[in-house]
Amino acid sequence: MRQALPVVADVGARVSSTTQVADAFFQTRLQVRDVSVEPGQFVQLRPRCLKGTYPYLRIPLSVSAVDTERGLVDVLYEVVGPKTSALRHVCVGDEVGFLGPLGNRFPEPASDVTPILVGGGIGVPPLIYFGTTLRTGERWDPILVVGARNAGKHLPDTLLESASADVRRATDDGSLGQAGLVTNLLTEALEAGSAAPVVYTCGPHAMMASVARLCAERDVPCFASLEEYMACGFGVCVGCVVERADKESQPSPYGHYARVCVDGPIFDARQIAW
């Protein structure tokens, strides 16, 4: 299931564009040579203006699109604090420290399954990249289920539809798509009896916990992309850990608490103590 991953590098990337794509959501396109990123992997960015002492740590971000031929990597993020605000304001042509690719990737599904991608809020971008990759070669027709607080927080159709011909939307306030939780849409999709569903999810912890439970109840395989407060991103600080459900059977010191950055960020949902 695990494929060979590209080699990690600490390089300079140039901002080629930054565009607003939804309420407080921005997409920054980075020009970076000889770096490839697989779906589900992430990068640690450091805008030059951060090369002082505050904010200090890098910004870990998932990747929403990659154009290997042209050397482009897209990151899509919500501006929530000083670091994402700094990234948003980096001028076109300016350099950003780029550490990556980091972590593992979404496992490629078997050829006869129906991938169901379930994203919430800022968890949607890596699913866009994964969905787009799945559709290339027309081996899979993924269903994309996305949730957001309101219509303004939904990513544009063009982005979502690159990942799936079957996009299903939910909002907390009912301003777009179905009112309520994304898990209601997932339940519907699972009960509609898709052939051999496999779920891939990324979003708020509580949402992923519900998705994992729904899948476990139905014996549907589920892979979750986790997020934690992170310092280094390459395994050395052991800060970004999650508790494993199967810790008793894990002999390694990282068996009880697994590192999101190098043991993940993608985990089989059954391995996690939600």
Partner: protein, 303 residues
């Protein structure tokens, strides 16, 4: 060309820049980013007698000009270290200092005795300063008596240089420095992290799973420099200075304030190659300033 070689308590270092314990694992994760042979040395992540799973998450939070951590010494234990981590470290062309912690002085002695059989360890650094260990660490390092006892236990079991790593979370760090020298320490490293806390006022909860953690990063550099200077005047053993070193200039400031060598810690999380850049920076700054040897700098603060 400036000669960067540094003798620290009998250990011949290629240069005075080492990676601090707990920020470089056991070397392997950093290999893609820098040539470890360019460094003066590596201090391993703390090992304890038995494996430790560490503290409940969240373990990390960014704060002004730094970060808090409450990792809790997650490590494979002494046997796991010797079996799984040492073979890689042993091949590296740099000095390896092994950092240890244990719940009692006797267990410190047993660990040190066991490590005597492992060829190639340059020195033992004793972590009597972790704020994240409820059964050791800072518990010892806050008491002169306990500090002396732990260091004496290690001293009695090893021929290697013994370095005591001090906590800044004490009323009188000079008293602790005297105690570890009395106990037989050949050197001191300082400072470990400052006890800190972050609060989420909306949920009214601490951000860290362990409630409190250790503050590191540029925020603590002035504290480290002040304490280093105080200890430098009080004891004769060499000191490894650390606390917020991010640039070659930071490192040079520590040397002037009295450090014989420096450790780079949290900076590695932000720039994994930081320590190698700092070595290069020290060399070029010293060349430009006409400094031939490191001794011309160490402890030259004019007050």
């Amino acid at each position: 060309m400036t000669d960067l070689t540094t003798n620290f308590a009998g250990i011949e270092l290629r240069n005075p820049v080492l990676l601090a314990s707990g920020t470089c694992g056991y070397g392997e994760e950093l290999a893609p980013f820098l040539d470890l042979a360019r460094l003066g040395g590596i201090i391993t992540k703390t090992i304890t007698p038995q494996p430790r799973v560490g503290n409940a998450p969240p373990r990390i939070v960014e704060t002004a000009a730094g970060m808090l951590n409450s990792i809790g010494l997650q490590n494979p234990g002494l046997d796991g270290f010797v079996q799984d981590k040492w073979p890689y470290l042993a091949r590296l062309q740099t000095e390896i200092i092994v950092n240890i912690a244990a719940p009692t002085a006797d267990l410190h002695r047993e660990m040190s005795a066991r490590l005597e059989d492992v060829e190639g360890i340059a020195a033992i650094e004793v972590n009597i300063s972790s704020p994240n260990m409820k059964d050791g660490g800072m518990l010892f390092g806050c008491s002169p008596t306990a500090s002396r006892e732990v260091i004496a236990a290690v001293r009695s079991a090893t021929r290697r240089p013994v370095i005591a790593k001090l906590t800044p979370n004490v009323t009188d760090i000079v008293a602790i420095a005297h105690a570890v020298v009395d106990g037989g320490a050949d050197g001191i490293s300082m400072i470990n992290t400052l006890l800190g806390m972050a609060v989420d006022w909306r949920s009214r909860k601490p951000v860290l799973g362990n409630v409190t953690g250790g503050l590191s990063g540029p925020a603590i550099k002035p504290v480290a420099l002040a304490l280093l200077w105080k200890v430098r005047q009080a004891v004769d053993v060499p000191i490894m200075g650390m606390g917020g070193i991010a640039t070659a200039e930071d490192a040079l400031e520590f040397l002037v304030a009295g450090a014989t060598a420096v450790q780079v810690g949290t900076s590695t999380f932000v720039e994994p190659g930081a320590a190698a850049d700092i070595v290069a920076g020290i060399e070029s700054h010293c060349d430009n300033a006409g400094i031939a040897q490191m001794e011309e700098l160490v402890g030259t603060l004019r007050v």
